[in-house]
């Protein structure tokens, strides 16, 4: 066994790192992207999309907290699907998570480069994008603690910028335009209200990724639920503040097509300190998001590699920095490929489709987990979420509803997503049913799954072939 094969991921992360990973990835969606809800459904459509998606994500984050603190594995949604659903679903979710985050990383890096080139016109977008991707890859290569501590600082500054701007506006420091709320209330009628749901996930897209650092947490059964729930509350607060600020400072027809809506709202306030804060926040939140995406996508690839879904070469852990360094480095060429594909809007939509697929399968994994392991013991389920499995079913219904709204404008992306993940499902399901992997319930310190039928499925999902004898 080589040194890198014998090394394991370091267990040092604390709840604030989990918060930083989750919120860091997502907060960029509140600085830009969410405002397409306004283009579809006006201010009322946007408010409804924020609340409906918020409900789904609160439930998803509770599911992720329970599953993450129970399994304590780096693959997150991939590992939950592998353990509780099956190899086909596991591969689909693993790839979906990888694609979701790597596409987002590419988009974030390009936005950082655009902002840098606007501030310093002598800079070109292409080399700056490369530099950003390379720098963040290097930080993640050197260590997860440094990467997520950096994310904490960047994210906190970006979040505080929103809070300060909101309270400044609410207490009358800024002249607002309440008439914009009525003028842009619902330009496309009830159908617009429904269509706006497709962009609702922008407010919270990726928060489930916070649980993907469970394997590197010092106390995952405390850090994951606490960090994840604190992160979810932060995003809900940020989403409501963002919607209000932009809706009363930018006319709805302009808000719907704005590239940097929060920054534009700050510009419309005419107050320099808010313009500077939100400008800085836009830049930092993109960096934080890209940084978190490198972390999460590399962990997903690492987990897929560790279980031989992709080449096991990527599952090596750095003997000194204790990071999955080959998986981390591999994010770089893929992100660069996405960034310069020339189809960035398609890439981002593919990221949303991938995310929504996860939001169907994560609650389903929780339902299966509850069926297979009903006991709530310290070893199996240190954190048991409330109202389960009923709210998990409800989250699945919301996720499918939002997926269906993508037919308004993104029909081909949706079909391509289904075909891509469908092929992955059947390919990996067939491949892993004939492999000889050993059951790892005992290694995890868990009992056998409940019931003979479930026990059989439990063995199938980790790839043990069954024969009549």
């Amino acid at each position: 066994m080589t040194e890198s094969e014998s090394a394991s991921l370091v267990k040092t992360l604390r709840p604030f790192h989990v918060w930083a990973l989750g919120v860091g990835i997502v907060l960029v969606g509140e600085y830009m992207g969410w405002n397409f809800t306004v283009a579809k459904g006006g201010v009322l459509g946007s408010l409804l999309a924020m609340l409906v998606a918020g409900t789904m994500y609160v439930i998803i984050s509770l599911c992720a907290s329970e599953l993450g603190s129970a399994t304590k594995l780096a693959g997150g949604p991939y590992d939950w699907a592998r353990l509780f659903i099956g190899p086909g679903a596991a591969a689909s979710v693993g790839l979906a998570v990888y694609m979701e985050y790597i596409a987002l990383e590419a988009a974030d890096a390009i936005v950082v480069a655009f902002i840098a080139s606007e501030v310093f016109p002598e800079l070109q977008v292409f080399p700056v994008t490369l530099l950003v991707i390379a720098l963040l890859t290097f930080i993640n290569y050197r260590g997860v603690v440094a990467a997520l501590t950096l994310n904490f600082v960047l994210t906190m500054i970006a979040f505080i910028a929103i809070v300060v701007f909101f309270f400044g506006t609410a207490f009358g420091v800024v002249d607002i335009h309440p008439e914009y709320l009525f003028q842009g209330a619902m330009p496309n009628g009830m159908i617009g209200l429904f269509a706006a749901l497709q962009f609702g996930p922008w407010f919270y897209l990726g928060i489930e990724g916070a649980a993907m650092c469970a394997e590197e947490c010092k106390h995952p059964s405390r850090a994951v639920p606490l960090g994840q729930q604190a992160g979810m509350i932060t995003l809900l607060i940020g989403a409501a503040m963002t919607l209000y600020l932009c809706a009363v400072l930018i006319p709805a027809d302009m808000l719907g097509v704005s590239v940097y809506p929060l920054f534009e709202a700050a510009q419309n306030s005419g107050i320099f300190i808010f313009i500077a804060l939100l400008g800085l926040g836009t830049l930092l939140t993109c960096l934080a998001s890209a940084n978190g995406c490198v972390c999460d996508s590399s962990r997903s690839w690492f987990a897929l590699s560790r279980d031989h879904y992709v080449s096991s070469w990527f599952s090596a852990v750095h003997p000194r920095y204790n990071t999955p360094y080959r998986a981390v480095i591999f994010t770089m060429p893929v992100a660069i490929g996405f960034a310069f594909s020339g189809f960035l809007d398609q890439v981002i939509t593919f990221s949303i489709v991938s995310g929504l697929l996860c939001y169907v399968l994560i609650p389903f994994a929780l339902i299966r987990f509850r069926n297979l392991f009903p006991e709530t013991t310290s070893k199996v389920r240190p954190f048991a979420g409330p109202l389960q499995p009923y709210i998990a079913y409800f989250a699945i219904v919301i996720a499918i509803t939002i997926l269906s709204t993508l037919f308004w404008g993104y029909k081909y992306n949706l079909i391509f997503g289904f075909v891509f993940y469908g092929v992955a499902y059947f390919y990996f399901n067939r491949k892993h049913k004939t492999s000889k992997a050993e059951n790892n319930w005992v290694e995890m310190g868990w009992p056998e799954p409940k019931g003979s039928e479930n026990a059989r499925i439990g063995k199938e999902v980790i790839g043990v072939e069954f024969s009549d004898d």
Partner: protein, 91 residues
């Protein structure tokens, strides 16, 4: 960790840190409810002529978010309290 190894000083420190965690999350929840009420109230009042036909949708989903998140946070607190000595969370 067995109860025999839990001394009063450790117990006091653990409960103090648990209260710190609880206060942080409770503070965030209060801020969340205040901000959401403010924003939803402002938008619905300004658009009441249109929104009055389906305002209940906003009420239902606001209630779901706050209700489920609050119960979830209480469960997180219970879980930490139950396991904090066993897994030495605050050492």
């Amino acid at each position: 960790m067995s109860s025999a190894t839990i001394n009063p000083e450790m117990e006091s420190r653990y409960h103090s840190k648990l209260n710190g965690d609880s206060a942080l999350v409770a503070g965030m929840l209060v801020l969340l409810v205040s901000v959401e009420l403010f924003v939803i109230g402002k938008i619905l009042l300004a658009t009441w002529e249109i929104a009055s036909n389906f305002f209940y949708l906003y009420v239902i989903f606001f209630g779901l978010i706050i209700g489920v998140e609050t119960i979830g946070c209480l469960r997180v607190r219970d879980s930490i309290k139950k396991h904090m000595f066993e897994f030495t969370y605050y050492d």
